[in-house]
């Protein structure tokens, strides 16, 4: 089978990348192998587990279920883009403080799902948290500490938002 290449231009974490990619390469492999952003994890490679979750054009996507060519022109946020200065995001701080990180393999995807959830719902109900994180499998924590961390991070972000508003 002949390999077909196409040019793409994507913005990842604020940086613009222009690359030739094979048309059968997934966004996940593109991010990990071409851009060497290895924080995005590959676990099932089949859209089942959520470990490879990234934000593409303000939507959550499983990057293993998107072809790199489909991301042409898109704006993408990966885990490496969550805390670009020396400060971590309140979501990351809360996850650590609540002991919500065990093996850490689902964590990058989980962080992005939480970020997206809190962007839309600054004060999420229990059901909204469950809905927002239903696409991310964690095998270590029983999700309890993750749920607590989401609420804690939401409170910090709300306070910060009020502060900025005033």
């Amino acid at each position: 089978m002949e390999d077909i290449f196409e040019p793409i231009c994507v913005e990842v974490n604020g940086l613009v990348y222009r690359r030739m990619v094979k048309t059968n390469v997934t966004l996940l492999d593109f991010i990990r192998e071409d851009l060497k952003l290895k924080g995005t994890k590959k676990s099932c490679d089949n859209g089942e587990c959520g470990a490879c979750t990234v934000i593409m054009n303000d939507e959550l996507v499983y990057s293993c279920h998107v072809l790199a060519v489909q991301a042409n022109g898109a704006k993408i946020v990966t885990i490496e883009g969550i805390s670009q200065d020396s400060h971590l995001s309140p979501v990351q701080e809360a996850l650590m403080d609540e002991g919500a990180i065990q093996c850490g393999f689902c964590t990058p995807g989980m962080v992005l799902s939480i970020k997206k959830l809190l962007d839309e719902y600054p004060d999420p109900t229990d059901s909204q948290i469950r809905y927002g994180l239903a696409g991310n499998i964690c095998r270590c924590t029983g999700y309890v500490s993750i749920e607590t961390a989401v609420k804690k991070a939401a409170a910090v972000l709300r306070r910060r938002g009020e502060h900025e508003y005033n």
């Binding site: 650590m96 850490g104 469950r130 809905y131 991310n136 029983g142 500490s145």
Partner: protein, 762 residues
């Protein structure tokens, strides 16, 4: 105490490695890159039992970028047992690195290494293997039939290849003395641990014949021993290094693909990476043994357990692996005291899913059967199952079956009272529904486990290097696969030496510099490695005393260590650890302090766990929803409340999945695993989780240098039994097997308009 309140305590610190994990900078195995890295792949048998009649690699070898192909005759013809345990006679060596006679789906036949993963995949598709498909026996029942074919006739003359008997008194005499006798048979299914990170390794065979391995293994020192046997190397020639591990749950307590990667690397003297695909993972890696139990119990009319006979058959899969240990260990984990006891553990070979170690190590299966029969007999006798358990559970001073010393701690009153208190609080808040449509009910179970390897075959060492500025490097040889043991060991050392956690660096595991550690399994690291670290700290303190005495020209007994301070008695001086090290190590005639210790196992004090589950059964829908799980546990002293809480909550999640929905389904006709992905093999999502309530008793285990017992596996063991009991009580039918998704519609906690209304309606 309520464990969530303990979060404010001083020892509830963040995990040391969590910062790298939460920012995505932690390097898991597949994230490692190195010069000359090549990619390996394994062609696995598509049939559960077959013979590879011919293998044609000509086309594959022609593909540009293919670096090497290994067929069964090209690898060392050494039989081995992959189990990561100290060498043991019962662990029969029956596996081959590559085989022409695959005995389970996913058995390894051909290995390929190529420049890229894509080329490797193409080459794997180009290899032509002709199979003669042979009849496969998949279940315990099939394998035990009189006319059943032998799974491995070359090595075993029967499929029931292992039988362990544990006895106390004459069991028949015990039944004769009982007033009532109850019997039951119970099945538990195969369960897959599905760690989120696939099994991966990199092997680099260097030109000077050293073998360097990075693998997500829980037992690197055992891998080293097995690899040395396979490749006729010495242990000093094999170097295993740490990578961040994306969980293990026992599954990685064995050698997986490291040997293939090593053999491939030897062809090209370049590092070779092998990462399992998810379907390889589901089909060909270790699962929890399916089991079939026959249980018989004799009780007296005043509610005392007199005699208990448990026969458990386990589905071992095609090879010995862990089966003798998994099948043989559970009798040492019975929480009750009774005069007459007999346990028969029988391992049965089949062509079914590969079995191995998985959180609980035989105890979840045995406990489900035992606790279910107790619940059943209490229902039939009209007894209170809580009181029955309280009356019969081992109390401090009594000797549990097969334990060396009598039980030293178990605060039964604390655990029972608080568990019941939480049940009551939930019912006061929500009520207990019982109407036309829905009936809610509670169920319970009680189990005990072990603080380390229950057969007491443990060997762990630890060493400490004190830097001249008074900071410390700790080497424990432990593997942290995500449970937080490195953090806990650092906390132990900090406490013993009276320094801050930030003054200690836990050295990354490297078998050339880290001291021997039997491996991270049996929930044993906090207890056994904790002991080794505590002893090494004592060694350090003793050496400091000697050196201080030399420095001050006084007798050794004039330097005392009290309240984390070295007291120079005559001079009335007090030095803390850092000051003492600076005195000793910052002079040209000074010295450096290094401490070390080896810890063996004298006993492994059992932790206990009581579990309650609340189930709602909907009569019209035939549906079941689990709303609450309570665990009330005794784990000894808590080293870090966040870790203990996380271990228990995670274990409950696995228990919920095990009981309700996890089903490694095998097709009846093709005998292939159908649930080879994470949609069909359903791990509980956040929506599927009931509310979790924990109580952790406040105790101190005197047998442990740190006061701790263990927590890792404990939480999963009683969950299935408690859930099935709750469902039995709610629906009125006895439950003798699970996952319950085969009998009921399993409801979860999603909001009513979940699909229609979307998140806005929630």
């Amino acid at each position: 105490m309520n464990i969530t309140e303990r979060k404010d305590q001083k020892n509830a610190i963040r995990r040391l490695e969590s910062l790298s994990k939460v920012t995505g900078s932690a390097q898991f195995l597949d994230d490692l890159e190195m010069q000359g890295l090549a990619y390996g792949g394994i062609i696995r048998s598509p049939y559960p039992h077959a013979k590879a009649v011919s293998i044609d690699i000509k086309e594959a070898a022609k593909i540009p970028g293919v670096l090497g192909i290994l067929c069964p005759q090209d690898v060392p013809q050494v039989k081995f047992n992959c189990t990561g345990f100290l060498p043991h006679d019962a662990l029969i060596k029956d596996e081959e690195i590559l085989t022409l006679h695959p005995k389970h789906e996913g058995d390894r036949i051909v290995a390929i290494v190529a420049e890229t993963y894509e080329i490797c995949k193409r080459a794997m598709e180009a290899v032509k293997i002709e199979y003669e498909v042979l009849p496969a026996i998949m279940t315990i029942e099939e394998a035990m039939k009189d006319d059943a074919p032998l799974v491995n006739p070359a090595l075993y003359d029967t499929n029931c290849f292992y039988h362990k008997i544990g006895e106390r008194g004459n069991i028949e005499e015990g039944f004769a003395k009982s007033d009532f006798i109850f019997e039951g048979t119970y099945h538990t299914p195969t369960a897959h641990p599905i760690p989120m990170e696939p099994i991966s390794c990199i092997a680099h065979w260097t030109r000077d014949n050293k073998l360097i391995i990075w693998a997500n293994s829980q037992t690197p020192y055992q891998d080293r021993r097995i690899l040395a046997e396979q490749f006729s190397l010495r242990e000093c020639d094999i170097i295993l290094r740490r990578a961040t591990i994306g969980s293990g749950f026992g599954q990685r307590e064995e050698l997986h693909n490291q040997d293939i990667a090593a053999a491939l690397s030897r062809l090209i003297y370049r590092p070779v990476k092998i990462v399992n695909k998810r379907d390889d993972e589901m089909i060909s890696t270790a699962t929890r043994h399916a089991s079939f139990s026959k249980v018989k119990m004799g009780v007296s009319k005043d509610g005392k357990l007199v005699a208990y006979h448990h026969t458990m058959y386990t589905n071992a899969g095609a090879y010995c692996t862990h089966t003798p240990l998994v099948t043989g260990a559970p009798d040492r984990k019975c929480p009750y005291h009774m005069p007459y006891f007999r346990y028969d553990g029988i391992g049965v070979l089949t062509n079914g899913p590969v079995s191995g170690a998985y959180r609980g190590y035989g105890n979840p299966q045995v406990s489900f059967a035992r606790e279910s029969l107790i619940n059943d007999l209490c229902r039939k006798m009209g007894w209170d199952p809580v009181k029955f358990r309280y009356d019969n559970v081992c109390k401090p001073g009594e000797k549990m079956h097969a334990n060396v010393t009598p039980l030293s701690t178990f605060p039964a009153d604390q655990c029972f009272d608080n568990g019941l208190r939480i049940c009551k609080e939930i019912d006061q808040k929500e009520g207990l529904r019982d109407d036309e449509q829905v009936k809610e009910a509670w169920g319970m179970a009680l189990i005990s486990h072990t603080s380390s390897i229950s057969s007491l075959e443990g060997l762990i060492s630890s060493s400490i290097i004190c830097n001249p500025d008074g900071t410390v490097n700790l080497m424990s040889g432990t593997v942290d696969m995500g449970q937080g043991i490195e953090t806990a060991l650092v906390q132990i050392a900090a406490e013993k030496l009276g320094i801050d956690v930030s003054d200690i660096t836990h050295a990354d595991l490297d078998t050339t510099s880290s001291p021997y550690n039997v491996g991270s399994f049996s929930s044993g690291q906090a207890f056994l490695a904790g002991n080794a670290v505590a002893f090494a700290c004592e060694d350090v303190i003793q050496k400091i005393r000697v050196e201080l005495a030399k420095f001050y020209h006084i007798a050794e007994d004039q330097v005392q260590y009290r309240d984390k301070k070295f007291q120079i008695v005559q001079r009335g001086r007090f030095l803390d650890f850092k000051e003492a090290i600076k005195v000793i190590s910052n002079r040209c005639r000074g010295t450096l302090i290094m401490g070390s210790a080896v810890a063996n196992l004298v006993d492994a004090p059992p932790p206990f766990c009581l579990c309650w589950a609340k189930a709602a059964f909907n009569k019209n829908e035939n549906s079941v929803k689990i709303t609450h799980i309570i665990e009330s546990v005794d784990v000894g002293r808590v080293i870090n409340p966040l870790i203990v809480k996380g271990q228990l909550e995670g274990a409950i999640q696995m228990g919920v999945g095990f009981a309700l929905m996890e089903d490694l389904e095998v097709d009846r006709i093709t005998k292939k695993v159908v649930a080879a992905d994470l949609l069909n093999y359903r791990n509980p999502l956040i929506l599927d989780m009931p509310e979790i309530h924990l109580f952790v008793a406040e105790t101190y285990e005197p047998f442990s240098a740190t006061g701790a017992k263990s927590v890792g596996e404990l939480g999963i063991i009683p969950v299935a039994a408690a859930i099935c009991d709750a469902v039995s009580n709610a629906c009125g039918k006895e439950i003798i097997e699970f996952p319950l998704s085969r009998q009921f519609f399993i409801k979860n906690n999603r909001c009513d308009d979940f699909f229609e209304g979307g998140i806005e309606k929630c």
